[in-house]
């Protein structure tokens, strides 16, 4: 659920709009440098993937279901800069075209889900990966931990914005924090499971595509030389 218009006052929304614009501008520069002229088609297809993935419903129980948010998944698969940019593009089009998330709240939503969720989540991923045994199987585990934490972190971002510019008085901040983080911890469990399974599958079939596993795979193939397990250059289909 995205923040609608009117929940956070105008000065705070504009201020976070500036934060979001600066953050995404930086991601865009780093991402373009990494992918050069492949950036637009690959990032565009990844954004379309996030958009489509959010339409797939995962049944929970008694007729309820949820869907993936995809911030950490995208960041682990295609890298933090492109991943965060893709999330921002999805949010932009959802806000402008589908009225999902207020237009004045776009900066708030991008800050929470793209900068805090995807970029912050990727940071957690790197830290957790360093703590785990340096094996390929650690990658989905680290991605799951990061994905699970990224959802309550994004919710906490909302609570921060609410504390600065919330329009509802007499709402105890502690109650808002408890409710938001509590609900999102549950959603985070789902996010962690889906991310774990999906990263694991991609890692089994095209390990070279998992950006977050690159360092590990390079070391693995160096150890098992002269026959590298993974081709150094991903073979593009003719």
């Amino acid at each position: 659920m995205h923040i609608p218009d009117g929940f956070i006052d105008a000065p705070t929304s504009v201020a976070f709009g500036v934060v979001a614009a600066a953050g995404i501008g930086y991601c865009l520069r780093r991402g373009s440098a990494e992918l050069d002229d492949r950036a637009a088609p690959l990032a565009g297809l990844t954004a379309a993937f996030v958009f489509a993935a959010q339409m797939l419903n995962f049944p929970v129980a008694a007729g309820t279901s949820g869907h993936l948010l995809g911030g950490v998944l995208a960041a682990v698969l295609v890298g933090p800069w492109i991943g965060a940019t893709c999330l921002a593009v999805v949010l932009l089009l959802q806000g402008l075209f589908f009225a999902d998330g207020g237009i004045t709240a776009l900066g708030l939503n991008v800050t929470n889900m793209s900068l805090l969720g995807a970029l912050g989540g990727y940071l957690i991923f790197r830290v957790v990966l360093r703590l785990l045994p340096q094996r390929r199987t650690s990658v989905p585990v680290a991605a799951a931990v990061a994905a699970g934490l990224s959802v309550p972190i994004a919710a906490a971002g909302f609570v921060l914005q609410f504390a600065i510019g919330g329009t509802v008085e007499d709402l105890s901040l502690r109650a808002v924090l408890a409710a938001m983080v509590g609900v999102h911890v549950l959603i985070g469990l789902g996010e962690a499971t889906i991310t774990f399974l999906t990263v694991g599958l991609v890692l089994r079939s095209r390990p070279d595509l998992v950006h977050g596993a690159r360092g590990l795979l390079r070391r693995e193939s160096a150890r098992s030389a002269p026959a590298p397990v993974v081709p150094a250059v991903p073979a593009a289909r003719p």
Partner: protein
């Protein structure tokens, strides 16, 4: 929210709003949103005035109010949330139909409902009168980074393709006797997501090679279109300007 809706949202009509350049309309919607969000919640009549202004815009665009109402279902989650506010907020309480409600919670709920609804209607009018192509072009004219617009246009172009890919996977799953019930379905659905990512990324690589072989060097040629006239800007900005007048009156009153 099927990707096919990206085109289905546009309602082809012959109207002033349909003819206005997209960048003028986007600017108008953003400014209108800012004016609405800045209006104090207690100026009840101002929100009525905004609603009348929007009704005027809907009629000028020759959209049927019923269509706008139907598309407002996106708002349902906020409405549920807003209805909870008077129950959870603290402060002075009033009794309504035997329920003890918080006064500031009621005001907060009204504030959220009024502003979110006006914002949603403005977005709906924008999406109904602007093709997504023009919208992207308008964003580019409003100085959104070219690279970001390019990514967005790839996303728009391929969202349909990926949605169709996902529909085919669903058919494949179900023809093998799969029904998505409960948590046990998750590994299967996640495998579909993984496969979807691989197909998306590999398609991206193929698209890139195809573009390279046609001379693509990382940026798209700019299609020059005539800059909007002062008249277009004036027509588009009439909405936020009149809303601004209402807001100033409301603050001074």
């Amino acid at each position: 929210m099927g990707a096919g809706h990206a085109h289905a949202l546009y309602v082809p009509r012959e109207s002033l709003l349909h003819r206005l350049p997209a960048q003028c309309k986007i600017a108008a919607v953003v400014l209108f949103g800012l004016v609405v969000v800045s209006t104090p919640a207690r100026s009840f009549w101002a929100f009525g005035a905004y609603a009348l202004l929007l009704l005027g815009v809907v009629l000028t665009a020759r959209l049927s109010p019923r269509l706008v109402l139907r598309r407002m279902v996106v708002e349902v989650p906020f409405v549920v949330f807003a209805l909870l506010l008077p129950l959870v907020a603290r402060g002075d309480r009033v009794d309504v139909l035997g329920l003890s409600l918080s006064q500031s919670g009621l005001l907060g709920a009204w504030n959220l409902l009024a502003k979110a609804t006006l914002g949603v209607i403005a977005s709906i009018v924008l999406a109904s009168t602007t093709t997504i192509r023009d919208l992207l072009h308008g964003l580019e004219r409003l100085r959104l980074p070219r690279q970001l617009v390019l990514i967005a246009s790839f996303m728009v172009r391929y969202a349909d393709v990926l949605a169709a890919e996902m529909a085919r996977m669903k058919v494949a799953r179900e023809s093998r006797g799969f029904t998505a019930t409960g948590l046990r379905a998750w590994p299967v659905l996640s495998a579909s997501l993984g496969a979807l990512f691989l197909r998306s990324y590999e398609r991206g690589e193929r698209v890139h090679l195809a573009m390279r072989s046609r001379g693509f060097n990382g940026t798209m040629p700019v299609l020059r279109r005539a800059a909007p006239t002062a008249g277009s800007w004036a027509a588009a900005l009439a909405l936020p300007a009149s809303a601004g007048l209402v807001a100033v009156t409301a603050v001074l009153a």
